[in-house]
Symmetry: C2
Subunit: 482 residues, 2 copies
């Protein structure tokens, strides 16, 4: 690693994602190649999430990549939000198309004309669609692997209900799944909360999100969003149903998504100057076994012990692999697997063979222990669980250390300069958020609301907004963001 | 169903895929919405295939949707094959892009510049990539759901080897997996064989395929292809490695794919005038349970028996579901689930309750049997297996009945008019294939080679080509195709 995380975070991040073989830069700016080390993580997350939403009776769909201009523009606020980033196909072969066709930046306008067709009666509700696909947002600001790319992979759920209560309930069910993806799988602490009116999904009623924070850059990052769209799209796309009394009613809708960005947040959170650090639950390889054949050692016996170690772990459902390459030294291999962030390294040399043990090194804290081969599976499980817990705990401590409650504008700007995750009492007025943005504009980007966390500290009566001096109605997280 | 399969096949097919809720037509011609009844089949096929290729050490990748003009045009034969169908992005938001960007019609040119970068030594080989993604081919001929669409889903495998032997071996390993998808899962008989020089993959060395046949239209249909690319792309993209002797060598490459077309071939093969007929292995619901509460029956007890039947089947790993809707009659439900092609219907009425039995109806042949509840799981398994076997066997008989061996031009044209799958001795000269195409041109499309089957009938010496009169070197399948 040429760069250090604390010295040059941006270069460090690029180096980690490339050297760990997660990402290859592509010759179109803002597009990246996802290599197996990233895709296998994506598949593990998908496996969890897809199973969970299937228990919620979500069904798999695949809607087209393309949408006509006419349909795309049906919901005005929505298209205003996305228009500048839409990629347009205008030619096929050497011929011009009759009309330009957009590539989906998200699929509300692709899907909802058909929801209108499919939904007739209350018996057709709820309708619950999910698709795993690629979307394209042709952004011009700083492309960053995983975090901000012109094409990315995601799941998008689109659901339709007869009542607002059902929609509200699902918004939070899904948000909880997103929290679990971040906290249980990626070991990244997030705050659940609600977005401000300015920051909510274009065209929706309200947006909830899980928000992470990157201490090194002092930036918040939206982890995933679960939107209640209310009845706005239903009006535009005429999605109604005959209710049980035989009257026409308008539906309530949600949409929600998480993307490959989640992998980038995980890299930024846990990585160190040796490279990636992967939480065991998402590590494609959880244990790498490396033979350490000192001179004159019985290399055949060592290799045999390594193979049987891998076999035993695999049989127990642990993702273990053997690095038996003969053209690399053990030391070189240690570095490479540290770079790739594998949670545990097992070394087996002549002494281990003699003592019927293996030597295990943790990636997260470098701790080394010898364990008897007979306890292998049990001890490895304990260690993997311990690493998973430790990564989240450590990340939480670092994140929490960045939280700065402020009450005045002076404290606010000081905390912003200090790269804090700012928790401020706010009057919840859009004009005030605009004003804060305008007053903090600069090279590093303006401050904005990240979310109003569901977990609200006490707000003593008489507390005033840090920016407007008006009565505060809530605590909100503020800061710069990705 | 308004149309009959034998009377108006095209309309029948559209009606089946729409009414069974596999497909919804989309407002961009040639693009279709894949609904859960199609996507769940796609997921079942994917689950099988992905697990198989993982045992062959294929790794998951995701390469970008976009490719620059420059790279796309690097392999001339290849781009000539695809150029007329390439969709071009030329604008983002309101701005023109600096240069047009193509949407992948396939990913050889997207991937191979990076293969060149990643492969240095024989130790980097084999390299085995697979991705599940969408591709776009903006065709203008007859769009048909699943069969010919402008966007479709597929897997594409791209592999790189040090030797031709390894590449050759893998071509056939993958082809065998494709045969299993068609024959074991979709119950569609296919012929394995090799494509002619004219029909092979643009830029490749040779192409193997599994070919199906649709008796109703008398057309062959390419089921999936496994290509050996030889060293042609390696030359264009400079993919070389240092071999064990320290010399630069050029790699050997394969690429292979199957698409959502496979679902359409299955629909065409098994569907009947009542709708879809699904092979049990890919049916999202294998058994639908319908309560039949005649007047005065104990509806609670019937519903209870239905629920416990579904529960018992689900516990045994059988995909069973209950249709408990009260606003539809049993007869209406029978029709709907027949339309959707569910392999087995279980009816439970008062008599069944009294006799501790269920009544089971097969979708494939309408046969009805009563079975004691105690034998439920075992008998359902036997029936599902029987349907799977029967569908393939029936389809094979129908396909085989269409095979017409010919030896003269007169027999050939007669068989072509008769919608046969023509097996003809051929001299294997490209000029002759071109000539046959020219001489059979017409409203229904020209005849061409489908494949040269690996399973070759005896070719007595002195046999001459049906078209040129020159010595024949092989038997090939000829016909019109999709």
């Amino acid at each position: 690693m040429a760069y250090k995380k604390d010295d040059n975070f941006g270069e460090w991040y690029s180096e980690v994602v490339v050297n760990s073989e997660m990402i290859e830069y592509y010759d179109i700016s803002g597009c990246y190649i996802l290599r197996p080390w990233a895709m296998e993580i994506w598949e593990l997350l998908k496996e969890f999430f897809d199973a969970e939403i299937k228990t919620l009776k979500l069904k798999p769909y695949y809607f087209p990549l393309f949408v006509t201009e006419n349909v795309l523009q049906k919901e005005k606020d929505h298209i205003e939000g996305f228009a500048p980033e839409v990629a347009w196909v205008t030619k096929s072969g050497k011929s011009d198309l009759e009309a330009p066709i957009a590539i989906r930046p998200t699929s509300e306008t692709v899907m909802y004309p058909y929801f209108s067709k499919w939904i007739r009666s209350h018996r057709d509700l709820p309708l619950k669609c999910n698709q795993w696909c690629n979307v394209v947002r042709w952004e011009f600001s700083n492309p960053t692997p995983f975090i901000r790319s012109r094409e990315f992979l995601w799941q998008e759920g689109h659901t339709v209900f007869a009542t607002k209560e059902e929609a509200d309930e699902e918004v939070l069910q899904i948000l909880e799944l997103y929290r679990r993806i971040y906290e249980e799988f990626l070991a990244v602490p997030v705050s659940k909360g609600r977005k401000s009116e300015m920051e909510k999904f274009a065209g929706g009623l309200y947006t909830t999100s899980v928000e992470a924070f990157i201490p090194n850059t002092g930036r918040g990052i939206q982890g995933a969003t679960s939107h209640c769209l209310g009845q706005n799209f239903a009006k535009m796309f005429d999605i109604t149903f005959e209710n049980e009394k035989g009257e026409r009613s308008m539906v309530w809708q949600n949409s929600w998504a998480y993307t490959t960005r989640s992998i980038g947040v995980m890299v930024m959170t846990h990585g160190d100057d040796k490279g990636l650090v992967l939480p065991p639950k998402v590590a494609p390889i959880q244990v790498i076994v490396i033979p350490v054949p000192f001179k004159d050692a019985d290399t055949t016996a060592i290799k045999g012990a390594c193979e049987s170690t891998v076999y035993t772990l695999n049989q127990a459902g642990i993702r273990a692999d053997l690095d038996a390459r003969e053209n690399y030294s053990p030391g070189w291999k240690y570095s490479q697997w540290e770079m790739k962030g594998v949670p545990l390294r097992i070394e087996i040399g002549p002494k281990d063979l003699a003592n019927k043990q293996v030597s295990i090194v943790r990636r997260d804290n470098g701790a080394k222990v010898d364990i008897p081969s007979t306890d292998l599976v049990e001890q490895v499980r304990v260690l993997l669980d311990g690493i998973q817990v430790n990564l989240l705990e450590t990340a939480k401590q670092k994140r929490d250390a960045c939280i700065a409650p402020v009450s005045t504008w002076g404290e606010f700007t000081a905390a912003l300069n200090d790269k804090k995750l700012i928790l401020a009492p706010w009057c919840d007025e859009e004009e005030v958020e605009k004003d804060v943005k305008a007053r903090t504009k600069g090279e590093l980007g303006a401050a904005k609301t990240l979310c109003t966390p569901f977990d609200q500290p006490d707000l003593p009566s008489g507390t005033v907004c840090f920016a407007s001096g008006k009565p505060a109605t809530k605590w909100s997280f503020w800061g710069r963001s990705y």
